[in-house]
Subunit: 220 residues, 4 copies
């Protein structure tokens, strides 16, 4: 990602910061654009305008449109990983640990719907936008969480709190599914149920439902 960061020397500090700020502004604008329109539907000029920079800046900093897409995507995965506070699960009761994990996933998904939209775009194109490097980041981002789930699940099982048959990978998938679907399909599902799912109250209720649902399912 940080491909071309020349100018790290002291004398050029100011410029470096400015450059970094420009990059960040572009990334933010690009995230908005890509998340609503996808890679194909996104418009370079719209991103530039929204970031209040000349469109040439995008090329200078990122090379081209799809490289920018990848940068945004990788940035999102990095943010996900960074957000994984190192949990002290060893000193937490499994039930509490599981609640914490589910809540974290829910909150991440709730707070970064744009990133999730990007991920969907990648999937829609069967990974065509995904470089080997990005694939690596996906794994790196997800691994800690997957390991946490495994850890808590194992401890919970051994304490007789969770059913023996539950598979951690499936659980991981299921937790992500119930959290993510709610946001990525909010508009059409709102049409089905006849009320706005993105109202704060509705979101809180959904979160409680999910946490309880997962824990209920895990009962031995």
């Amino acid at each position: 990602m940080e491909a071309k960061r020349k100018h790290s020397e002291n004398g050029q500090r100011r410029q470096y910061d400015k450059s970094g700020r420009t990059r960040a502004t572009i990334l933010a604008a690009a995230l908005r654009e890509f998340s609503t329109h996808g890679l194909a539907g996104a418009r370079v000029d719209r991103i530039a305008k929204s970031a209040k920079v000349n469109n040439h800046a995008l090329y200078y900093h990122f090379g081209n449109k799809s490289a920018l897409f990848r940068a945004v995507l990788e940035n999102g995965y990095d943010a996900f990983r960074a957000r994984q506070a190192p949990r002290d699960l060893k000193n937490t009761p499994p039930l509490e640990g599981m609640v914490e994990i589910v809540s974290d996933v829910f909150e991440f998904v709730r707070d970064t719907p744009e990133h999730m939209a990007l991920v969907l775009d990648v999937n829609r194109n069967r990974g065509a936008h995904l470089t080997a490097d990005a694939s690596e980041r996906v794994r790196a981002a997800a691994s800690p969480l997957l390991r946490d789930i495994e850890f808590v699940l194992r401890r919970g099982k051994s304490l007789g709190l969770f059913a023996k048959h539950v598979n951690p990978e499936h659980l991981y998938l299921t937790i992500f599914a119930v959290c993510n679907f709610y946001f990525t399909n909010a508009y059409t599902v709102s049409a089905v149920v006849g009320r706005d799912l993105l109202q704060p109250g509705a979101i809180r209720t959904r979160k409680k439902h999910i946490v309880r649902f997962v824990l209920d399912a895990l009962r031995p």
Copy 2:
């Protein structure tokens, strides 16, 4: 555009069929194109070529690209509704009924990934492609399923088979979520877990997991 053309007179039967066939061919080609590329990324010429018609035919029959998108989308919802075999839930034990419901959703989602991709595109644009008419179809398509879930859930609760606190709308959402996410995010999740989720065996296993997971969660 796109008005229902009925030619009840005999002499025009053949022509009607031809027109209807052209429309159907275009709809099918458009579904493929829109599902892989989204509305923005789809190419009208690609659709025309794939449908083996002159590209003007799309305009003649559907008006323009986004009207065609809507036609495809509504067609998909109609197909979903049509697929809802009239279930004889009154004579089915609640547990079996629930298994049947979850299985049906899973199979629908598995068999119509193109339609689900379209739905995601709609959501990504915050419902921008969704006309009032389409909204109505969404509701119409979902209603029978929602009613079935309510019915089975109520009966199961009264027989002491399901926990009292479960809300049918949330359950509907959850079932759809666990089924749908698996397919819409197969590519990136495969990267995380290190194996191809779309292998037939993996799909079967996932289905079993989901059915069991839902039933486990519903236990009183």
Copy 3:
């Protein structure tokens, strides 16, 4: 013009009339369309729709778009000629005769702005739409009027009512100019003078001005 009028026999009277009516309807619709949009800007489908016939009828009856334009144009010239009531100028005093001529031109131009618009289109294209046949009709349509002007002018001069130096061709041109310009430029001139020139009252006033202006100019 009346190129393909087969079916003149008695037994097919009804059909002939229907065909004639269709032609007339198309011509009227085409006149509206061509006069507002010109040959290039006119749309065949718009004409067909406005005439409430299938667009193929235009081709059947007139061949193609520019042939239809010519038919409309020639029709207009024929109407102009037909309108020239055989004036009994020999028994009319020259001043009255001149008033009558100017009034007739004004009224023709006022009543057939669509035809005049067509003529402008022809001029804009430097006669590109004009066949030899049409040229002939132009002359045929204009000749009687030109002759009348010559006649009245000559008599008026010999009676000492009109200035000797006035040239009949120039007078013809001038009369047409002052009448026609008012209608063909009504919108922009309305913008200049700040009121709507096409109000009935404004038109009447303009006519009076023109008649007086011409007679004043002709004084010896």
Copy 4:
């Protein structure tokens, strides 16, 4: 689009000039195209080719085809206004002043047939291309001339040189009419009179006729 781009800093002078030159080239080419074919019949690619620019340049500088049309039109009105040499009518005898005015109108119309053709196109579409801004320019362009006519007419009347009843607005219209019609209808009228009205000699003769005709009409 089309906003006035002023780069007051020195360093961008050259660039500004280049842009301005491109705009001017496009405007000139567009004037040619629009005047011969009208808005509807004009071809964007032909304009671009004739201006020797990429066709995107039209969109970059003017937005779209009809915005370009408006720009050309407004440009023409501005040129008309700019052409109005500040006449020293106060020190000119009214008869001479009137001759000068009529001659100026004739020469303007003779020299800018393209602009006049555009104006006709506007009128043909019942002012549809006329924005509020363009309307303002029309008025601004015409006002000085109208004021001059009023001034000369008033002075001439008070000196007993012109008839009292003549209305300045009508006179304005009449002058424009007799000058303009000759050029906008040259082709068809040539067909009527059987000689080419656009020959230099014919034009000179026509001018003399018009000047005399107007002055004759104004006699008390």
